[in-house]
């Protein structure tokens, strides 16, 4: 076909690895400082997922060592005691972009199957060094060692070395080691802050980092309670879209639409399936494979509008829970009051999510800014450090949008809010995973959770205020008794000394009796008020 024009475009296809290699900034690898931080982060999060998703109390050890000082190359090594990786998957898991274990409906820290590969890709581009992986899968008798590089054009792994070793101990886990060009001096405080906050959100883990200066920072496990590991679940119908329904139809084994809906989705039973199909005007017994595009569109529309589903199943999610959050806040911030809320599950676009909020007040909590409380954001247990201002959580808790005065809090005050959002899919604003997008469903849940926690705070504060108030009133009277008695006593003496003056003690005594009458109405006040008086000199 066509065409003799002098300036015809040339078209070609691009592998995912090549795409991300060319656009590494969008995943946070924009400069040596940021890249080093991002590398640590991606590897640590993979390690934590390999542990707590499988009921293992995590022990993670990070080292950042200089590899080639002249060229600013650093070796980042992260070891965990996780479940390990089946050796047949290792090459692809580390050498093929968009390959991984996280593409399903279950809460994990990493989401894009991209992070670790970006670190490897970046290391390979900047230092030419392969990634080194040593893994000891749980239950296996062997340890496996790999050196892998990525064929960027083909998006395929190149295994440069592979070894198998018989293992003596039962210790399992994975160690990943990459060499990247980095800028430690500028990344240092970022990385240490990240590790500290991570430890705050995962108080059941032990995390150690050893820096190029050979300093070790260790955060030891403070509780042994763990959130239940998440499980994979079927999608929730409220978040269905046309594309998803088409995929389900293509793979279903059900012979009627009704059955298909029941089998493919959570929260749909016989009855609701019938209602949905009636709404869409489709025969419930129709063969799913015979649906027209218009029928699919109608069915999606009715599934999204129906509002009597059971809430999404929480099995896929792993919230921290009230106890862990409150323990974390108390341990780190030492407040006079702490309260946490775990909301019921909800969903957006078919992804279930749970919002958890903790509020810490008073005590040693640092003073907040004027514009809002101190905010600690977590997404699937990951601390979010940057771009706070554009995060939906900040939008909710900032003073401009949340009426803190209504809860007896006048900013700035000693108040901190922790928000944890867990979901099978966190809607990040960018691949850098630093802020969460304004999804209305999430915004509403965060607001309700903050309100609920703030109500408990208000209750605490107003009780405290009332008790103080009553005592203050009594004191107000008692303290003035001596002067009033003295003055009235002096005024009672007529100028031309006839008449009948009243002495100080008598007046004082009458005044005290009047006050005691009043004080008796207050319960819990059992003290001789006279002891409070210090007579006038």
């Amino acid at each position: 076909m066509s065409s003799g024009g002098e300036s015809i475009e040339k078209f070609r296809s691009l592998s995912p690895a090549e795409f991300f290699y060319r656009n590494r900034e969008i995943a946070g690898f924009s400069n040596p400082s940021r890249a080093l931080y991002q590398t640590v982060r991606e590897l640590v999060e993979n390690s934590l997922d390999a542990c707590d998703n499988h009921g293992i109390l995590p022990t993670v050890r990070i080292t950042v060592f200089p590899e080639n000082t002249k060229e600013n190359h650093y070796r980042v090594t992260v070891s965990d005691n996780g479940i390990g990786i089946p050796p047949r998957y290792v090459p692809q898991a580390f050498g093929k972009v968009l390959f991984g274990s996280k593409y399903k409906l279950r809460q994990t820290r990493g989401t894009f199957g991209l992070g670790a590969k970006m670190a490897i890709l970046y290391g390979q581009i900047t230092t030419g060094k392969p990634v080194e992986v040593r893994t000891s899968p749980k239950g296996s008798q062997y340890s496996y060692f790999f050196k892998i590089m990525i064929d960027i054009e083909k998006n395929e792994p190149i295994v440069m070395e592979r070894r198998i070793m018989k293992r003596k101990s039962k210790r399992h886990g994975t160690t990943v080691s990459v060499v990247v060009e980095g800028d430690w001096s500028r990344a240092r405080s970022r990385i240490l802050e990240y590790i500290k906050r991570t430890a705050m959100g995962v108080p059941y883990a032990t995390i150690t980092i050893i820096t190029p200066e050979k300093e070790a920072y260790k955060y030891s496990r403070v509780i042994r309670k763990m959130p239940p590991p998440p499980r994979e679940v079927k999608p929730h119908p409220r978040g269905v879209d046309i594309e998803m329904l088409k995929a389900i139809i293509a793979s279903t084994k059900s012979s009627t639409l009704k059955d298909m809906l029941k089998n493919a989705f959570q929260s749909i039973g016989k009855k609701s399936a019938e209602i949905l199909l009636e709404e869409a005007g489709i025969d419930p017994n129709k063969d799913p494979r015979k649906l027209t595009l218009d029928e699919i569109t109608a069915l999606v529309s009715s599934m999204r509008k129906y509002n009597k589903y059971r809430p999404p199943r929480t099995d896929a999610l792993s919230p921290l829970g009230k106890d862990i959050i409150e323990a974390g806040l108390k341990g780190v911030l030492k407040p006079e009051f702490a309260y946490a809320v775990t909301r019921k599950p909800s969903s957006y676009s078919g992804h279930p999510f749970i919002v958890e909020v903790g509020v810490a007040y008073g005590g040693e909590v640092p003073l907040s800014p004027d514009k809002g409380p101190i905010l600690y954001r977590f997404a699937n247990k990951i601390p979010l450090l940057y771009d706070e201002g554009s995060d939906v959580c900040w939008k909710v808790v900032s003073d401009a949008n949340f009426n803190w005065r209504q809860y007896n809090v006048k900013l700035p005050d000693r108040i901190a809010v922790l928000v944890h959002i867990c979901s099978t899919k966190i809607p990040y604003k960018g691949v850098g995973k630093e802020s969460i997008a304004d999804v209305p469903e999430i915004e509403r849940e965060v607001r309700n959770a903050v309100k609920e926690a703030a109500r408990h705070l208000r209750l605490y504060l107003s009780k405290k205020i009332r008790a103080e108030e009553e005592k203050r009133k009594i004191m107000t009277l008692v303290k003035y008794v001596p002067e009033v008695a003295r003055s009235l006593s002096i005024l009672s003496k007529p100028p031309a000394s006839d008449g009948n003056p009243v002495d100080y003690e008598s007046i004082k005594s009458v005044l005290m009796k009047i006050i005691e009458r009043r004080a008796r109405k207050i319960d819990g006040l059992n003290i001789d008020l006279r002891e409070l008086i210090i007579d006038v000199g």
Binding site: E468, K471, R472, K473, I474, M475, T476, L477, V478, K479, Y480, P482, E483, V484, R486, S487, L488, I490, L491, S492, K493, P494, P495, A496, V502, S506, I507, V510, L511, K513, I514, I515, R518, L525, I527, L529, E531, L532, I533, I534
Partner: protein
Amino acid sequence: MTYPGIDEIDYKQRLEAAKKLHEAFNKTIEELMRGKSPKLIIPKRTLSNTIYDPERKLLLLGPAKLKRSFTDVNEAKRFMQTVLMARILYESLLNNEYPTIRDLYYRGKYSITYMDLRDRRKKSENTWEEQKESDAAIRDIEVFTGLLREDMLVLSKEKGKLVGRIKLRSGGDVIDASKMGHGAYALESTPDLIDILEVDAEYVLVVEKDAVFQQLHRIKFWDKHKAILITSAGQPDRATRRFVRRLNEEFGLPVYILTDADPYGWYIYSVFKVGSITLSYESERLATPQARFIGVMMTDILTKEEMRNVLARMKNLRKRNLEDILNILRNKPYIDSKERRNVIIKAKEADIKRAEQLKGYTWFKSFRWRLELEAFLRYKIKVEIEALASKGLRFLAEKYIPEKIETGDCID
């Protein structure tokens, strides 16, 4: 009471005041000793209880009372402050002291020490922090007992000066205010203790500004025009007001007030005439309802064209008012528009607010006052007395003041 400085008149006054103080509080004490919670029933000094009496042309306290009960936690401190102040005043009277309000503040100020119920710690609180508080206590006692502070021999800073054909007796001396040279007689704090012996004058001219007073005195204005010249040197103090009132009341002298043409000057006039809004209980003895405003007026400097603009803003004008206008404007403006440019001052936001307030007061609702205020609000300008001096001192002394008195171009 053996100090040589004590004079008879002061001593008599002391005894009388002390008796009244004692009696006023003794009732409360007696009730208390019968086991009743102690309280003071005091006329309310609030704005809402300040009433303009159009008959007597005075601001007076209305009938509302407040009950200051010791057992009301919101009132306890003020109750304590009130009896504390009463005691100090009582003691001063009995000890032949002449305290100032600042003295009273110091004498009453000390730290009350007590044990706090909440944390069982020793704490302390001052009887009062600022003089504002002790001053309020003095005022409470004034309205509660009907005694003014002067009656209790409390002295205060006095700025009022006097010259003219008048003879007084004070503290045993006879003073001739027409023999003060270029200086003047400075009034005392207790003008009710002055004997006015002889008055040979036709009116009283009160000048807001001390320097203008001196200028008029220097050219012996009072001698030529048979006037008593008084300056309040700004906001008038109580003694000056009381003395002016006495001259008017006891000798029937007309009183003319000369101030700047601005809300501040008008308010000075208003204080002389009807009393201070916040201290209306004093008015009965301090205000001079017959006093008249002689200038400077907005109408002194506005052109006929401008006056038409002002009239256009005013509603409910009667025909008589319009005739008045023509009459008023006969000799005006005193300052032509070119001179004026340099003597007018732009009104500030605060001035305008103040003028809006004045507009609301009954005694500023006469036609002539409405004219002044509307003119001010229309053109937003102020004029000082000194502005007339740009035409020379003789203009003020020989034309402006005499002409106004003669033609009656004064505002009541």
